[in-house]
């Protein structure tokens, strides 16, 4: 799987959304992406890329698009 595929998969698995829904996806915009869902997403991304997010990045990770910026910080090229 490519990195972008792994990234997308984390969202699809955690929230049960389709790939088409990804670009506009943001925290608290769908029932699944509440604080509990957020924890699950973070865990899924950490597992997929074998990284550990900083607290600041966890609480700032507010959308699918914004999240991509953070991945670069963890040396993951999407």
């Amino acid at each position: 799987m490519t990195n972008i595929e792994k990234y997308n998969e984390a969202f699809i698995e955690s929230f049960g959304v389709t790939e088409e829904q990804l670009p506009d996806l943001a925290y608290q915009e769908i029932p699944e992406w509440d604080s509990v869902g957020h924890m699950q997403l973070i865990a899924a991304l950490e597992d997929a890329f074998d990284i550990m997010f900083d607290t600041d990045d966890i609480i700032d990770f507010s959308s699918y698009e914004k999240g991509k910026e953070f991945m670069a910080k963890y040396e993951v090229e999407l």
């Binding site: 049960g16 925290y27 029932p31 699944e32 509440d34 604080s35 509990v36 869902g37 957020h38 924890m39 699950q40 973070i42 607290t55 600041d56 966890i58 609480i59 700032d60």
Partner: protein, 468 residues
């Protein structure tokens, strides 16, 4: 005298702090509270759709002061569930966010910056007994019409007791982490207002940077959390955060796993904060027990001792008191905060006190030689999903009636739904997501060959399989 009637004495002290940093004094809060309740007139039933905002809090306080009985409801209540509740209870008023008001029939009696008070057209063909003060849901996520009847005396007694054992000071500032319709969230609001302290109101969660910014800017001294909030705090590396304003944290709403409890006890010790584990139920207003900080380290798995004014005993299977330590029985509580009973519709509201100050908690517990209690298990068929109570039999009923035969079990924070027809998997998931308010992250569906039953046809829940 009931605390909500003596809030005037706190005058210019800050009562509420909003997300935008606005400080609302007690006099301003009461002016608004009395204006809202005044628009509703005399004693009646009012639904209150909750948010952690000033208008909602003012409405609640106003209703209590005026003797209007609020039914506190979650915002995410499904339309058909809400319609069911409206039909069963026929409240005279509905106090709700402005943008939700157009969805309901009624005349606007008051409108504020965020909330509207709607006068509903129902015929008032039922009575409210004098002692009834508040109604809270028992299993909001399944739209159950079963409400807990709380008296003014219950609220006053429990609030005073909580403020006492927690040592809440008028300088304290609690930041909300829980919704207002949840008895734990409500108790934080009430206990702080009762001593002239302040409450920072927000619907932001621990996963929002705005929550932490607000906590720091407004120098919050405390917040509470159900077990999953502590899981989140651990993930966010709370131990590494620099939050000098925090004085104490509380935990209730389910059993915190022992290792997590021990971890937070140590972290809080290091940060010069208290960590108070507590235990309660809506049926006991809010709280029944707490673990005094000085005993936290040595009794990390305990719920502690009864709150001031309350007492516990353990009942054996015949109902007789258990006198020996280390023997499990049903935990029974006695105190002025034991509520009046339940209601399923508006005619039940005038039922008398059915509990007479004693509550069978439905939890199995034991007591150690020093008199500290430990919860061992649950007798009743419900779970706590991220703090919210979910009645397992009700979920089964809903799915069965929707044509999806199932059996429900699970543990706190994970509801397991077992179905036998694999082709119904998608339908079952959609049903739970669309027709209940069960957190979509809190359940898992499993397809099994057949639902295990005993000879009399009763489901054998224990045979449904251990967690994978």
């Amino acid at each position: 005298m009931a605390f909500w009637n003596t809030l005037e004495r706190f005058g210019e002290r800050t009562a509420l702090i909003t997300e935008t940093g606005e400080h609302i004094t007690y006099s301003a809060l009461l002016a608004r509270a009395d204006e809202i309740a005044g628009a509703a007139g005399s004693r009646c039933l009012a639904f209150l759709m909750c948010r952690n905002c000033a208008d909602a809090a003012a409405g609640y306080v106003g209703f209590l002061r005026r003797g209007i009985v609020p039914v506190l409801l979650a915002e995410n209540l499904d339309t058909s569930m809400l319609e069911g509740l409206l039909e069963s209870y026929r409240p005279a008023y509905f106090y709700l966010p402005n943008e939700k008001a157009p969805d309901l029939p009624g005349v606007t009696a008051w409108r504020g910056e965020s909330y509207t008070l709607l006068h509903l057209p129902y015929e008032q063909d039922y009575k409210l007994p004098e002692e009834l003060a508040l109604l809270l849901t028992t299993s909001g996520s399944t739209g159950s019409p079963k409400l807990v009847r709380q008296s003014g005396r219950n609220i006053e007694a429990n609030t005073r007791s909580i403020a006492e054992y927690l040592g809440i000071l008028s300088e304290d500032r609690a930041i909300t982490t829980l919704p207002m319709q949840y008895t734990y969230g409500l108790s934080i609001l009430q206990s702080h207002l009762s001593v002239g302290a302040a409450v920072i109101l927000t619907d932001k969660t621990l996963m929002d940077k705005e929550f932490w910014a607000l906590l720091k800017e407004q120098k919050a001294t405390t917040f509470g959390g159900v077990p999953y909030i502590y899981e989140m705090l651990k993930k966010l590396r709370f131990d590494r955060m620099n939050l000098p304003s925090l004085r104490y944290l509380t935990q209730a709403g389910g059993k915190l796993p022992k290792e997590l409890a021990e971890e937070f006890i140590q972290t809080c010790k290091r940060k010069n904060m208290k960590f108070i584990v507590m235990y309660g139920q809506t049926e006991a207003t809010a709280r029944m027990a707490y673990l005094p900080w000085e005993h936290a380290e040595s009794h990390a798995a305990s719920i502690g001792i009864a709150i001031p004014g309350g007492e516990f005993w353990l009942a054996d299977p015949e109902g007789a008191p258990i006198l020996e330590p280390e023997t499990t029985g049903e935990l029974v509580y006695r105190g002025p905060n034991v509520t009046l009973g339940y209601a399923e519709n508006r005619f039940d509201l005038c039922k008398p006190d059915e509990n007479h100050g004693e509550l069978r908690t439905g939890d199995m517990a034991k007591r150690d030689a020093k008199g500290f209690y430990y919860i061992v298990g649950r007798k009743k068929r419900f779970l706590k999903l991220f703090g919210s109570r979910v009645n397992l039999d009700e979920v089964e009923g809903l799915l069965n009636r929707a044509g999806i035969p199932c059996a429900c079990a699970g543990v706190d924070d994970r509801l397991d739904v077992y179905i036998t027809d694999g082709s119904l998997l998608g339908q079952a998931e959609r049903f739970i997501k669309e027709h209940t308010a069960i957190n979509p992250n809190g359940f898992q569906l499993h397809v099994i060959e057949e639902i295990p039953r005993n000879d009399s046809g009763k489901v054998l829940y224990s045979a449904l399989g251990a967690r994978p």
